[in-house]
């Protein structure tokens, strides 16, 4: 008897399961309103004071200057590609255009969803693998900006030791490391660079652990470093806090972190920031769509176009004329091609 009943229960379960999926023929993809821009963030989300916030800044600028509307959505931790597909589909089907995916992790999802919505422009930040007519790959020469950060660090350090804190040890962040280390060594061979990463992929929590960034930075400061460059998303604020609290220099990343409200307390010790104009890229894409001439293909942002660079908002930095000059020279050499910056350490 029990045998029968348990099989019956299993059968009902499976039937119910099959029923729910087939019975409701509708799908979540059937509405057509213009909802404006959509931004899907990477791990860390808004408020990371760097990468995602840069995208947000571009979004805000577009809202203000172009009068567009829009939504921005954060990811969940440890989600799968299917979840990203769902997010982008949801944004596209609600009638958003363009849909901008921030972060290379969205590449497979963009590839899939862009096929289903050929009339919508999809932006993909930090990845250059999805080549479709309605997809814009926005990539940056992070290593070039980081090279300039390295030059500045090498000329500012007194202890001949500088640090680098990466959020997650993936190829993207290694580009930052590669440029920085090369910049330091090209400027002064005797300067030692301490390189540390907070986590290894697939553990992306390194981008959102300010406390861990603080500990790591403190370790480097104990080891004699007096300038620390970080490419660690939200964790970077911990690095800046640690350095600033002990009166040492920190170098910001992605956004001009000197002007970030969340870091105002420490801004006097933010030497400079290796910027990555995600905001500009987002703005440009939104504008192109609004103007009816959407971008397509690969859009590369480098030193030449100002897509990456070294922000010098800190007056203390502007006073270091020697450093500023050296950075300017390096910048010219990179643009002219005299200096080739490596993308892998």
């Amino acid at each position: 008897m029990r045998r029968v009943s348990s099989i019956a229960v299993a059968g009902i379960g499976i039937a119910a399961l099959a029923f729910t999926t087939t019975a409701c023929g509708g799908s979540s993809s059937d509405s057509k309103k213009d909802k404006g821009v959509a931004i899907a963030y990477d791990v860390g989300g808004r408020g990371d004071q760097s990468f995602n916030d840069a995208a947000y800044a571009g979004f805000v600028k577009a809202k203000k200057e172009l009068g567009v509307k829009g939504d921005d959505i954060e990811p969940s931790e440890g989600e799968s590609d299917a979840d990203k597909v769902q997010r982008l589909t949801e944004l596209a089907r609600e009638g958003h255009n363009p849909v901008i995916a921030v972060g290379f992790v969205y590449a497979p999802a963009v590839k899939e969803v862009a096929k289903k919505y050929p009339k919508i422009t999809f932006g993909l930040v930090d990845d250059d693998t999805v080549h479709m007519k309605n997809v814009v790959n926005m990539v940056f020469n992070e290593e070039q900006g980081s090279y300039l950060a390295g030059v500045a660090a090498a000329l500012t350090t007194k202890s001949k030791t500088v640090g680098f804190v990466g959020g997650v040890e993936n190829p993207l962040i290694k580009k930052f490391e590669a440029g920085y280390v090369q910049g330091v060594h090209d400027t002064d061979k005797s300067v030692k660079v301490k390189v540390q990463y907070l986590t290894q992929p697939p553990d992306y929590s390194g981008f959102k652990k300010p406390d861990s960034g603080k500990d790591t930075a403190n370790g480097q400061l104990d080891g004699g470093a007096d300038v620390i460059y970080q490419a660690a998303g939200d964790s970077g604020s911990g690095v800046i806090e640690a350095a600033a609290t002990r009166g040492k220099w920190a170098i910001g990343v992605d956004s001009d972190q000197y002007t970030q409200k969340g870091l105002a307390k420490f801004k006097s010790k933010i030497l400079a920031s290796a910027t990555k104009a995600v905001d500009e890229a987002v703005f440009n894409l939104v504008k192109s769509v609004k103007d009816g001439k959407p971008e397509s293909g690969t859009v590369r942002y480098g030193l030449k176009t100002g897509g990456v660079g070294l922000a010098d908002s800190n007056p203390a930095y502007q006073k270091m004329t020697k450093v500023v000059e050296a950075v300017e020279t390096a910048k010219k050499k990179i643009i002219s091609g005299e200096i080739k910056v490596k993308t892998t350490p």
Binding site: G78, S80, A82, D83, Q86, F104, T129, N170, P201, D203
Partner: protein, 458 residues
């Protein structure tokens, strides 16, 4: 735990497979896990069964008086008969009680979540409505079912450990190492489709079993708690994968990409899915494999010698050892099986969707599996519902972000479910125990009355 007595029918002849009736019956009664409200035999089996059965359910003092009616052989027949009718009642009760636990937990979790919503000044009901509406869409349902298949396999892996009284927290690490190794082999081996799929699956199971086996061996040879060793192995798995996936080792960095992968599986080794519709997409073919695994799990644990040994060892290692089970071997074996099933957890996505292991392969499935195994009370059907529920919360909650709520509400709810599950199961268990003691008491009293009456005229 509580059913040391269960090992009783094991000794002697049972080992030789002698009394198939006894062994067959015993696993049956605890067939649904923690809910060990033993069943009074409905088949007119040897009367000796009935006393052995009733104490098993509680291991309570009610056990010893239960022996007496059996000894009064003349009453045995009628006792068994009344036991038969009681059996039906018991099984209906038991089903009710089994359902009561999760339902109570859910209700409590929903109420608490509503409380949280109220406290933050939001509508305490609208989020549920939004989620249910959203889940009415076919594409979301496909998503839920697909996700549930991974959760289900992970939860089965955890449940196998739980049945054995082993807490395999390392399912997540086993799952990731296995998925990566399988993806790597799949991308580099050129075999005809079905063979290639079989190879990928076998590699995943072997690697998962290997990774769990390390913890198993540590436990059996050195007495290292599997809780500690599997947590550590999770961290080691992360580092090992991070190393192996470097382009200098086995990884591939597609041109223009910032991701690292293991290379793509050839199309012939993609597991065909069930096409629902163009919008909704495909249900992974592996969903059906997962269902098959659930059936196998039920059968092996509930209807085989091995399953019985496993549960007996889980209930009391010393009692199982006394009845001739090699407990250490059981620990190792169940760890290996748990790991092998954990290895399968990555297959639905690998073979059905991503076709490669990359830096953004889903993580945390093993931990979700623990929640689900608890929720489903280690029962194959219960786990299926648990997996669907958690997948529903995961997927349907995404809509909240678009409607002015935070999707983290679902995370809060999942946490509350775990807490309320533990509390409500214990509450229900105690209630069932009290009820049973009373019932057994009444039956015994009744039996005693009939016995005296029958004995007097004789």
């Amino acid at each position: 735990m509580k059913n040391t007595d269960e090992a009783e029918p094991m000794n002697g002849d049972a080992k030789n497979g002698g009394s198939a009736g006894t062994t067959g019956d015993a696993p049956d009664k605890s067939g649904d896990g923690l809910n060990e409200s033993g069943r009074t035999p409905t088949k007119s089996g040897s009367p000796a069964d009935s006393p052995a059965d009733s104490p098993a359910k509680s291991g309570s003092p009610a056990g010893s008086p239960a022996d007496s009616p059996a000894k009064t052989s003349s009453a045995a027949g009628s006792a068994a008969k009344s036991g038969g009718s009681a059996g039906k009642r018991f099984s209906r009760d038991r089903l009710l009680l089994a359902v009561a636990g999760p339902v109570l937990a859910l209700v409590v979790a929903v109420l608490l979540t509503s409380g949280v919503l109220l406290a933050s000044g939001k509508s305490p009901f609208e989020p549920y409505q939004l989620m249910l509406e959203y889940a009415g869409n076919a594409d979301i349902q496909v998503l839920i079912v697909n996700q549930a298949s991974s959760y289900y396999l992970a939860a089965l892996a955890v449940a196998i450990g739980f049945r054995m009284n082993l807490f395999n927290i390392g399912v997540d690490g086993q799952y990731r190492v296995a998925a990566m190794a399988a993806a790597l082999v799949g991308a580099n081996v050129d075999l005809p489709g079905p063979l290639s799929i079989a190879l990928i699956v076998i590699v995943a199971m072997l690697v998962g079993a290997f990774w769990a086996g390390i913890a198993g061996i540590l436990k059996t040879t050195r007495g290292v708690s599997e809780v500690v060793s599997t947590i550590m192995l999770n961290a080691i798995a992360t580092s090992l994968i991070a190393y192996l996936i470097l382009p200098e080792q086995f990884g591939v960095q597609p041109k223009g990409s910032n991701n690292l992968t293991t290379g793509d599986l050839p199309e012939s080794s993609w597991f065909p899915g069930l096409h629902v519709s163009d919008v909704a997409g495909d249900i992974y073919g592996f969903v059906f494999v997962a269902i098959g695994c659930g059936v196998a799990y039920s059968l092996v644990l509930g209807r085989t010698r091995f399953g019985f040994d496993l549960r007996a060892t889980g209930a009391s290692e010393s009692a199982a050892a006394a009845s001739g089970v090699d407990a250490k071997r059981m620990v190792l074996t169940s760890m290996l099986i748990s790991g092998a099933v954990a290895g399968l957890a990555g297959m639905p996505v690998l073979l059905g969707d991503s076709h490669t292991y990359s830096l953004n392969f889903q993580t945390g499935i093993g931990f979700t599996g623990i929640t689900i195994a608890l929720l489903g009370r280690n029962n194959a059907v219960g786990i299926a519902f648990g997996a669907l529920l958690i997948a529903f919360l995961d997927k349907a909650s995404q809509t909240l972000d678009y409607n002015g709520y935070e999707k983290e509400i679902a995370t809060i709810m999942q946490g509350l479910i775990v807490i309320s599950v533990v509390v409500s199961y214990e509450t229900v268990r105690r209630y069932a125990l009290r009820r049973q003691q009373r019932k057994v008491g009444e039956e015994l009293a009744a039996a005693a009355r009939t016995t005296t009456r029958e004995e007097v005229p004789a």
